[in-house]
Every structure is written in structure tokens, then in C-alpha cells.
Symmetry: C2
């Protein structure tokens, strides 16, 4: 199977660690003759001839993390003629045997997961979680893509219950509140927030509590995609 040389997908992999929203970035190091630099990129790849875009995004995510069945959504496409014209990017493409003047369409996807779902040593690639508000200058046009992904995420999380994708399967209400506070950069009143989520039938309380915490252990919940599918009415006006 052959790679298409002008269509690629880039995945913005968001992770939440209980405290901050992070993005999974990959080292890009080039050292060749007098040229030498290191920086970070999102993960992406060309699609195969005959591969649908969604499949390519799944594959890219899998190749980096070993995970399948992760929330993944196409959010925007980037194809500006000058998107790959920074000096280091051209060197990198040349080193990689690619034509730096070939215009490349990159279809942006974002993925949501809990940071601890990823084993960073997977396939020995040099990969790291970086808090989204501490991301420096990235390779290619990846700062632009990241900003755009964040915007889409914020927009979407208000109206659909995707925040749970950033949490472990079993989670506490405080964790849910934290996810929404971090992503929307706001604070909610604890009691009011809990009253609101109490109305969501698809948040299922489990017969289980937190363990090993140095305070009153919290009730654990899980998110039921099934129940949600049947009660899509409160999709509108979700949080906020």
C-alpha cells in the first residue's frame, strides 16, 4: 500500500491528568552537516491511497499511542500554500526525501483521552505531554492547528457531553467539574454544578468509592453512551 503524497492528517491529542489539559507532542530532531535543531510536532501522517480520512486518523493515533476506540473528531482542514515554508520545515522535508514545494492538505482531528491511558514508551518514540498553555513554537503550522483544535474543543464541550472522554472510566464529580473548569477557563459553584449534572441521566453512579485518598472518598460514576444516545434532548444547553 502506497501513501498519498499530498493528503495528510494531523491529530491533536488532548489529555487530562486531573489538573491540566495537555497535548501529546513528538520530538523532531534533525542533525545533518551544519544543520541541527530539535523541536516538537503534533502527530500526523499521510493517508494511504484507498484509506478514508477517519481511518487514517485512527491509524495515526494508534501508531503513536497503541490505543483504539478513542474519541476522535475531524475539526478543520489546513492547506495554505505557505504552511510548510519555514526554513527548518523545508530542511526536514528534504531530509525525509519529500518535495518541500508539494502543496500538502492536512486534515485536522482532535482526540480526547486521559493522560494515563498512554504509555509514553510505546514503540520507543520520543513523545511528551505538554500543558496546552505552555506549548512553545511548534514545527510546521502546528501552533495554528493546535489553537484551532482548542477552539473547536471548547465550542463542542459546551454542547455535548464529551468531557468524560478526558477522564478515566470511573470518575468523581469533582473531576468532571475540574475538566469543564479547565477547558472553559472558568469556575463553577460546587453545589450548583452537582445539581446540574444530577439531571443528566447518563451519568451513572457506581457501587464504588474512591480508595486511598486522605479525605472523605468520593462516589464514583461512569458515563453511559447508551443512555446518552436515548436522551439527546439535553444536548442543547449542556454546561454553562
Amino acid at each position: 500500500m502506497e501513501l498519498n503524497n499530498y493528503i495528510s492528517v494531523d491529530c491533536v491529542i488532548f489529555g487530562f491528568d486531573g489538573e491540566r489539559l495537555k497535548v501529546l507532542l513528538v520530538d523532531r530532531t534533525l542533525s545533518e552537516g551544519s544543520t541541527s535543531f530539535t523541536d516538537l510536532t503534533l502527530t500526523g501522517n499521510h493517508v494511504y491511497e484507498n484509506e478514508p480520512l477517519d481511518a487514517a486518523a485512527d491509524r495515526v493515533l494508534f501508531e503513536l499511542t497503541g490505543l483504539t476506540n478513542i474519541y476522535l473528531e475531524q475539526f478543520k482542514t489546513f492547506a495554505h500554500p505557505d504552511r510548510l515554508t519555514k526554513e527548518n520545515d523545508i530542511k526536514w522535508l528534504q531530509h525525509d526525501g519529500r518535495d518541500p514545494f508539494q502543496r500538502i492538505v492536512s486534515v485536522g482531528y482532535f482526540a480526547l483521552l486521559a493522560t494515563d491511558q498512554v504509555t509514553l514508551e510505546w514503540k520507543g518514540r520520543n513523545v511528551q505531554w505538554v500543558p496546552v498553555d505552555e506549548v512553545g513554537e511548534l514545527a510546521f503550522d502546528h501552533n495554528l492547528i493546535l489553537e484551532s483544535a482548542l477552539l473547536s474543543l471548547r465550542n463542542k464541550i459546551i454542547h455535548e457531553p464529551i468531557g468524560f472522554e478526558l477522564l478515566p472510566q470511573k470518575f468523581t464529580l469533582s473531576q468532571v467539574q475540574k475538566v469543564y473548569e479547565i477547558i472553559l477557563d472558568t469556575e463553577f459553584d460546587k453545589r450548583n454544578f452537582r445539581k446540574k449534572v444530577a439531571r443528566m441521566k447518563y451519568l451513572i453512579p457506581l457501587d464504588e468509592k474512591q480508595k486511598g485518598v486522605a479525605h472523605k472518598p468520593a462516589q464514583l460514576y461512569m458515563f453511559s453512551r447508551d443512555v446518552y444516545g436515548n436522551t439527546k434532548k439535553d444536548l442543547l444547553n449542556f454546561i454553562v
Copy 2:
């Protein structure tokens, strides 16, 4: 300037005529030897080498309608390997001198305007407004693209005041209500709806009334993009 042969944009041009939501479609007629068919397509075109996607979408819209400064938004990208493999589509591409096995990425945009902004005879192309709920089988994968555009439109119009883009500059509150009812396929109580829009500071009442209508003439309003920009808080929880 040369056209890129694998990147295209397709524009879903929505129009409202006071009664229904329509989409602007273009005749595709091929008659050559024993092959002969007529159907309809969205409007689209390849982008020029060196042309950004947004510019290409503006251009495609302009070439069909002669209009500039129209609300236009990228909503999804289509690149399925089988998207152009229907028999008629292959014949059409061949007739057009294009390689039907070339994989083409199509970036979808939707435009919003009032149907009477468009002069259908523009450039003599065979163009027609079709109510979205009466659209038959379109060329290529354009039914898919249209459905996807409708979904994006419905999603967006709930949360951001873009309904006004489908109305003339000066409009009545009943027209606003109708737009939202048609697009969201629902009905609102007139008094409650008006109470809600009365809270929107960016709806500016004019010193002007409807003329020549066979009933009490309605107050005219306009939408102020400026005021809206300054009061984005009620972006959330807009209509519904």
C-alpha cells in the same frame, strides 16, 4: 495561474426566501455519443496553486453569484477514496479531460444569504434554488456534503446569531422567527420568541416600517455585527 488538480472546494449555498430553506444547485448535463444525462451539483472548483482555501471558496461563490462579503464557513472535508466513482461521475470527469482515478480532496464550505441577493442569470449559467427537503440525487457525493452542511448549520445557528445572514439587511422579527423555525424544524411561541430576541442588544430597531403589505406593517430591524462582537457572552444559550 494553475489549478491544483487534487484540492477542491465545494460550496453549499443556502438561501432563505421568507418561506423555505433552499440550496443553490447547478445543472450538469453531459451529452456525448450514447452517453447522455442531466443532474444537479453543488458548486465547486479546484483551488489555484498558491490560493488559500478560504480564498478559493470566496472565488467559487463569486463566480456563481457575483457576490462578495457573504457569510462563508468551512465545515468539513471529504476525501473518501470512492467519492467520485459513480458511473456518471467518471464519464463527466473523463469528458472534462480529468483523471477519474485521481483522488480529490474536497473542502466543504457553506454560505448563507437571502435568495433574492442572487441574480440567477449571472454569467448565463444554469442555476436554480431547490428547497433542501426536495433535493433529489445529486452528482458526485454531493448529497453527503449537503447533509453534512445542514447538520453544521443547525448546530451553529443554535449557538451563534448567524440566522440574520439568511435575511435581507432590514428584516422583521417574524422573519427572524421563521428562519429559526425552518432551520431547526420547530415552532416558537411568538410572544416568548420576541421576549428572547428583545434581550439581544445587537438587534437594532430602525426608524422604518414595512411598506406595501396588506396588513399592519412590521417594525424593521438590522443586525449589528459590531455590537455582537462586544457582547459575545450570550453567544452561549442563544436560541432554544
